[in-house]
Symmetry: C2
């Protein structure tokens, strides 16, 4: 026990326990527990007496002790890249709502998109004996971090990204189709030299066939490259720019726009934060959108509807991604043993003002 005051809770007050309530109500511990925990059979009069005593003493159940004996914590964990990122905030909210409706609590961890941090977060959540886990995996390539979860026999649902060789429930968006649509829109407007920008980490320049850390981005790149290829654009891979977080979105955009040899006339942003960086940089450089540069992005962020011009985006059902993931998880927790499923949610094009033919400004 701790040394503070002998109560062992380190908080300066001794917690009221079932035993205390039982004594006060003049019944056995088991009976008190049954009345309090609302299980088993208790006569009405005893129940009332116990509950009155509990009220009187200010009894608060100890969920941990309960979990210890039942093995269920009534808690699920969620691990996201960064809760400050609107995508994750919305997905988390979606999951949280579904969890709350099912009477489950939520433990949140940020991975910072770093596998090591993620591993620690998962280990903590497992140690807390969560009943299941929702994770947007930091790496779609290496399933290593997730193995312990499976080994522990805990239900796991992935969202936003799948993981190679890992057969678990997964909820993703139709990123390939979305990227294709967005790219085709630019192609149709007459663009040929279109850059794709993502902040995802990647060793060196992107080359066809490279594995990309997150399948969401990988799928977008696929759709993008596919559209360019179909349009007969040579060397599509050279238009894919990853690592924008490390290099800085603004610096990269600067480079793309100022290099005349590149001749970039349009940009596909893999998320709205990147688009914001591109937008600002274009403004700074005196490039007008869409006259001098066309811009499209994923995610219908607030600002894309009020900027000048407004930005054409591919909207994702973010809230629903989180909610559906939580629903799948709860099913598993309840004991559903069906083979893993992958849910692919549709994206929706929101056409606005940021696309024009190349050279419209001249």
């Amino acid at each position: 026990m701790s040394a503070d005051n002998g109560n062992g809770n380190g908080h300066g007050r001794r917690e009221v326990t079932v035993t205390d309530v039982a004594r006060a109500a003049g019944v056995s511990k088991a009976t008190a527990a049954r009345a309090l925990g609302d299980y088993g059979a208790v006569s009405e009069s005893v129940r009332d007496r116990v509950q009155a005593a509990a009220e009187e003493l200010g009894y608060r159940p100890n969920a941990l002790a309960r979990t210890m004996s039942t093995g269920r914590s009534n808690t699920i964990g969620i691990v996201v890249g960064d809760i400050e990122n609107p995508f994750f905030a919305q997905a988390t909210r979606g999951a949280s709502d579904v969890a709350a409706a099912a009477g489950l609590d939520l433990i949140l961890s940020n991975s910072d998109e770093d596998p090591e941090t993620e591993a620690k977060a998962l280990s903590v959540q497992l140690a807390k004996r969560v009943d299941g886990l929702l994770v947007a995996p930091a790496s779609s390539v290496d399933p290593g971090n997730l193995r312990p979860v499976l080994d522990a026999g805990r239900p796991l649902v992935l969202f936003d990204r799948a993981v190679a060789d890992l057969e678990v429930d997964t909820v993703i968006a139709a990123n390939r189709t979305g990227a294709r649509t967005l790219t085709q829109l630019l192609l149709d407007a007459g663009h040929r030299r279109i850059a794709f920008i993502s902040t995802i980490d990647h060793p060196g320049d992107y080359r066809l066939g490279d594995q990309i850390l997150a399948t969401s981005v990988a799928d977008r790149v696929d759709g993008f490259v596919g559209a360019l290829t179909d349009a007969g654009v040579p060397d599509p891979a050279s238009f894919v720019h990853l690592n924008a977080r490390r290099d800085g979105v603004e610096a990269l955009t600067r480079r793309l726009l100022q290099d005349a040899d590149l001749g970039i006339t349009a940009i596909v942003s893999s998320d709205s934060l990147i688009a914001l960086g591109v937008y600002r940089t274009a403004l700074t450089l005196g490039r007008r959108i869409p006259d001098d540069l066309s811009l499209v992005a994923f995610d219908d962020a607030d600002w894309t509807g009020v900027s000048t011009p407004t930005i054409t985006v591919m909207s994702q059902p973010i809230h629903e991604i989180g909610a559906e993931a939580a629903r799948l998880l709860i099913r598993r927790i309840r004991g559903d043993g069906a083979p893993p499923v992958t849910r692919v949610l549709e994206q929706r094009l929101v056409p606005r003002e940021s696309v024009a033919p190349p050279g419209a400004g001249r």
Copy 2:
């Protein structure tokens, strides 16, 4: 025990325990626990042997059992209005970073700004024996929800809002000064008929002296009304519009702008989401900002820097609000018994393009 497979954990696998490791390593449970938990004294050779056995068996500590005996969960709880709201997302991130650095985990709950939901969330967190709580209270008026936390002897830190008659550590922003500055800016530009809009619930129209549910908003209203009063504007309270969530920001804005008798020429938005609604409505109604309507807001949201015009805002150190709250909480958890403190963090004016003299458009 549960009926599934007799392991009592409901997850289809029996967890490896200290006892298992001890047996495998040929030592007592106590020794194994000491080696694993890194406390007490263990000889190096034994420690290695135990750790090897643990590794071998795939031992994962049960944090709950640990909490049961030590009384410390190494976890803090945070209760916010809505994690999807960028303000709370950023504050949560700030708190999360500080917590993580101190080796503490975080349990998140949304209150939806509803006292009942908040009460449930708090009760859950207490049941999980969090070491302390961070809360943005749904009601600054009624301390009822927070009493159980104090009664349980658990450290509590409030952020964004204070609570009447509750002497606990609190981290807030200098909202009164901020509102005053923002309002003065409009006054100086020549405005006299300025509306203040907040989404906070309020019974009926606002009248001087009314208690407002959140001190953050109350302080802003104070600053706003104070500035108008000093400027000799008659009946300042009539310019305060609360309940915008219930009534809808767009509908309210419509009413304000279309009523010629009101003659509103400028608006102070209590947050950036409201400002976005005002902005959109103004656009819809064909009112140009700032020529026909001046607009200022709290919080330096993304879009306020890229809209046309850009919006003049009062920026809050949101990340720091959460971080500082977490720091205070950790101090308390560590046993600091000093009297409660209130930290007031400064806001910063970001002047942009959304303010002009009234009638500049004519």
